[in-house]
């Protein structure tokens, strides 16, 4: 049977991609790695369980995480997508500058082998951007981080440092919480 194709186009990390004819049952992770050479999205379980392949899809209600290994390109057709390659900013010389989430992961030594890290960065980024639109009380931040990162698996067990890094970003970025973040951060530090 001939491979059925669809005409695919999308915005990936701000760049227009396509239109290109692609097999209609292609999964997003294969598109990124094999057709676009964006190899930072990690394929692991292939069943949407470990979340190492998490990418970001922009939606009407803000960005959301999507597992690239089980999401077909037919769902992403026409949408705007970000992968780990699109998270860092650039300085005046065009050199990459880590995002706040990436920087915090570095400072906290959050990861070891790094295989799961793109997924954690993207899940953390979606949470930060969600809180920009809808801040929450500082007291709810930890529960919200757990909720946002719970599905992401790290076999080096870096969870605590990933979580602490993200908590630092959220509590120290003005506008992500609805109360005095500085004071809450101090209280949390004292308790720790």
């Amino acid at each position: 049977m001939a491979i059925q194709k669809i005409s695919f186009s999308a915005t990936i990390n701000g760049q227009k991609v396509g239109p290109m004819d692609l097999p209609e049952d292609l999964m997003a992770v294969e598109l990124l790695q094999e057709y676009l050479n964006l190899t930072g999205t990690r394929l692991t379980c292939g069943q949407g369980v470990c979340r190492a392949c998490t990418i970001i899809v922009e939606g009407e209600n803000g960005p959301r995480t999507v597992p690239a290994c089980i999401t077909g390109i037919s769902w992403l057709n026409g949408r705007s997508i970000r992968t780990i390659e699109g998270i860092a900013g650039k300085d005046g010389d065009g050199k990459p500058v880590p995002s706040a989430v990436q920087q915090a992961f570095l400072e906290h030594f959050a990861f070891q082998c790094s295989y799961c890290t793109p997924g954690f960065v993207n899940a953390g980024t979606v949470l930060v951007e969600t809180l920009e639109r809808a801040p929450i009380p500082a007291a709810q931040v930890e529960a919200r981080i757990l909720d946002a990162l719970d599905a992401n698996i790290c076999r080096c067990t870096g969870y605590v440092r990933y979580y602490q890094a993200l908590r630092d970003v959220i509590l120290n970025t003005p506008g992500l919480t609805t109360d005095d973040a500085q004071e809450t951060a101090l209280n949390t530090a004292e308790k720790a």
Binding site: D25, Q47, G48, P67, C69, I70, G72, S74, W75, N77
Partner: protein, 431 residues
């Protein structure tokens, strides 16, 4: 005018008399068979044997399905909500707590409650307690169940008050319902020339397993109709038609039913919604003989060719096809064959075969959490797509699945999806 009033008076009086007669007929419990065992006379080993038999009765009767504590810790402490059109009923504490459970009950009291629906003091139980099905429990089983219940640890947890919509909060009204719909308690007897295994299957399915309570359609008074096991939408899900011909038509065989009861999964589907606790508390604990008896009774000798993908029905919905490839095929496969122990095959799954698409819409919308089923069998998380699919998109996807593997050519409209989502939302609001 006076003539009209006279007639009206007469009708009111006749109505009151009829209501009174019904109340009298349905009031309390009728005769009960004598106890089969004198608990006080048993030695330790005899009592232990009886308790073991009682546990098997409790498993087959699936007491825990309604009486478990949703907070965990006890299968008998109560608190699970059951949503009915008359309001929400909470499972009661049936641990042997004297204050909050049934610690003060006798074996006769338990039989009256189980088979007649009447608690000590003449208090009517709501028919959410399946006494209409249990009416044929044998006194031996009731007594063994009593011994087991009394051997369990008491849980000092108060019952949660039901929230019934008036007038259903008046328990005396149940006497009228009982007069019309409650069969007299009568211990089960095999029919003439019924093979022992068939009788056992009938007893397990119809009496202890009380399958009809969900799978049999209900009338306007919420009593089971004569369309035994013909399928029914209840608590936001379709409890499908379990009659032999319908089962065979959906690809069930006796051995697949055996697997379904034993492990919770078969090529035709996985235990979901209210059937997941049924698996966990009841069917996965039944003996191979009992499971085989149930499967045999349900299939009723039908010729069962087994699971086979149905032919494509109609022209496949193109939007639905693209949604399937985008959201489903990653796990279930382009060909719908699934992956063992993680995602079910869809090509032989029965969910898309039902005339009513509510189960399909609910599963796609809400997903299913990762679960250990039974005997080591398990399933990974099925993601939830409700917040990503509009009514129209859900309709396209459901239409495609039904056409491709369900043999159902008709489109599922956005309006039908909206209605199904309302039904599901109402049922879930209480949980």
């Amino acid at each position: 005018m006076i003539r009209f009033l006279r007639i009206l008076c007469l009708l009111v009086i006749l109505g009151l008399v009829a209501a009174g007669l019904l109340m009298w007929k349905g009031w309390g419990a009728g005769d009960i068979p004598a106890a089969t065992v004198d608990l006080a006379s048993l030695d330790d080993s005899q009592r232990a044997d009886l308790v073991t038999r009682g546990e098997a009765v409790a498993r087959a009767g699936d007491c825990a399905a309604c009486h478990a504590d949703p907070g965990g810790g006890s299968d008998l402490a109560g608190g699970l909500p059951m949503v009915t059109p008359m309001g929400t009923i909470y499972g009661t504490n049936i641990s042997p707590s004297a204050d909050h459970g049934i610690g003060g009950w006798s074996a006769d009291d338990l039989y009256r409650a189980v088979a007649w629906g009447v608690a000590p003091g003449g208090r009517n139980l709501y028919p959410a307690m399946p006494y209409v099905s249990y009416h044929a429990i044998t006194r031996e089983d009731s007594d063994a169940l009593y011994a087991w219940l009394m051997a369990q640890p008491p849980v000092e947890k108060p019952n949660r008050a039901n929230s019934m919509i008036p007038p259903f909060n008046f328990r005396f009204g149940i006497s009228m319902w009982n007069a019309l719909f409650r069969p007299d308690a009568e211990p089960f007897q095999p029919a003439a020339e019924e093979a022992p295994q068939d009788a056992r299957g009938r007893y397990l399915v119809d009496v202890l397993g009380h399958c009809g309570e969900c799978h049999t359609p209900r009338n306007a008074a919420y009593a089971m109709t004569d369309d035994h096991l013909a399928g029914n939408v209840i608590e936001g899900a379709l409890a499908p038609d379990l009659r032999g011909a319908a089962l065979a038509e959906r690809g069930w065989t006796e051995s697949d039913l055996d697997q379904f009861f034993h492990r919770g999964v078969a090529p035709q589907g996985v235990m979901t919604f209210r059937m997941f606790p049924v698996l966990a508390h009841s069917t996965s604990h039944l003996s191979d003989d009992d499971i085989a008896a149930m499967s045999g009774y349900l299939l009723a000798g039908q010729d069962a060719p087994g699971p086979k993908p149905r032919d494509l029905a109609g022209n496949p919905d193109e939007s639905g096809h693209q949604l399937y490839l985008g959201l489903c095929a990653g796990c279930h496969g382009t060909d719908g064959r699934g992956q063992p122990h993680s995602s079910v095959p869809l090509d032989t799954n029965t969910t898309a075969m039902f005339a009513d698409p509510i189960n399909l819409i609910r599963i796609i919308g809400h997903g299913i959490e990762e679960r250990n089923l039974a005997q080591g069998e398990r399933m990974q998380t099925m993601p939830a797509f409700d917040d990503q699919l509009s009514d129209a998109e859900m309709g396209h996807l459901a239409t495609y699945l039904r056409q491709r593997w369900g043999g159902q050519p008709e489109a599922v409209s956005a309006a039908a999806v909206s209605d199904a989502r309302d039904t599901i939302r109402q049922a879930e609001a209480a949980h």
